[in-house]
């Protein structure tokens, strides 16, 4: 959820940012990202900054729609919870 939430708030983020955000090792984060890519939620882009290879991640249209739906549901739940009063 941290990865998808972060990516929903930007155009793209690099691998290091997501690694610091999640606290995962390189291998573990790569494995998570591979699964998200397989599911069509995340797009992986490779580029060079000078001579250094950088991996950038971005949400696909499907991923963005999915995370937006999730946040809307969460917001609706929160609204419902605030309006709920126990029956006496």
């Amino acid at each position: 959820m941290s990865i998808l939430t972060a990516l929903s708030a930007c155009r793209s983020a690099d691998f290091l940012y997501l690694q610091r955000l999640t606290g995962l090792s390189k291998g573990n984060l790569s494995s998570h990202l591979a699964k998200l890519e397989e599911g069509g939620l995340v797009r992986v882009e490779k580029e060079f900054v000078g001579k250094i290879p950088v991996t950038r991640l971005a949400l696909t249209r499907l991923g963005r729609a999915g995370i937006e739906r999730h946040w809307q549901r969460l917001e609706a739940l929160r609204r419902d919870a605030l309006g709920w009063h126990p029956e006496v």
């Binding site: 155009r11 690099d14 610091r20 950088v54």
Partner: protein
């Protein structure tokens, strides 16, 4: 999902959306430059003539360069985020069309009209609150800073300094200090969310 983890996700969203503004150490050189400007406007400034201008402009140039260097440090150590194109168009428009002109106008009012209150204080305090509100909130020190700047407006009433431009030097000194302290606290908040990479070890879950 627990309330704590939802709050963390909301902070992640705010920080990622406003990543540039949460890179607090960028503000520290700017704060130091503001303090140099305050010093220059004070009675304790030792320089005169063109040297005075050169030193002031050099301090400002150094602050801009320092801020760029700090930006590179953040990219190297915390990673890079590219903002959504046009995501903050409304904020930028409000900033340039309303907030900045008001900040300048408040100083002009103090300089020309010399009202009994130091108008620059509350206007810049409101500007600080707008900055906090529009850059992801979360960092309560800006609410405190806004209160301090607002309260600065009352000081002429207590005879701390005369109405008019006499308040500008102490005001910019306080503003510089707020930039520096606020910047360090922003950085600490960023570090709380972007934890150090542990080689080979996982410290959290996705």
């Amino acid at each position: 999902m627990q309330a704590g983890s939802t709050a963390r996700l909301e902070r992640i969203r705010s920080m990622t959306d406003n990543y540039f503004f949460w890179q607090g150490l960028r503000l520290v050189p700017m704060g130091a430059a503001l303090m140099v400007v305050a010093w220059r406007w004070s009675a304790w400034w030792p320089l005169t003539g063109p040297t005075s201008d050169v030193v002031t402009y050099a301090a400002l140039a150094l602050a801009v360069w320092g801020s760029v260097v700090v930006g590179r440090y953040y990219r190297r150590s915390f990673g890079d985020v590219r903002a959504m194109p046009g995501a903050h168009a409304r904020r930028n428009a409000l900033k340039w069309l309303i907030v900045y002109p008001l900040l300048v106008a408040s100083m002009v009012v103090d300089g020309l009209l010399k009202p009994p209150l130091f108008v620059t204080g509350p206007v810049w305090g409101a500007g600080t609150l707008a900055y906090w509100w529009s850059t992801g909130r979360g960092r309560p020190h800006y609410v405190v800073a806004s209160g301090i700047l607002g309260a600065f407006g009352l000081l002429p009433l207590f005879g701390v300094f005369a109405p008019g431009t006499a308040g500008l030097a102490p005001f910019f000194a306080v503003l510089g200090a707020i930039y520096m302290v606020g910047g360090v606290l922003d950085h600490l908040e960023l570090r709380r969310l972007l934890r150090p990479v542990v080689p080979g070890g996982d410290t959290s879950t996705v």
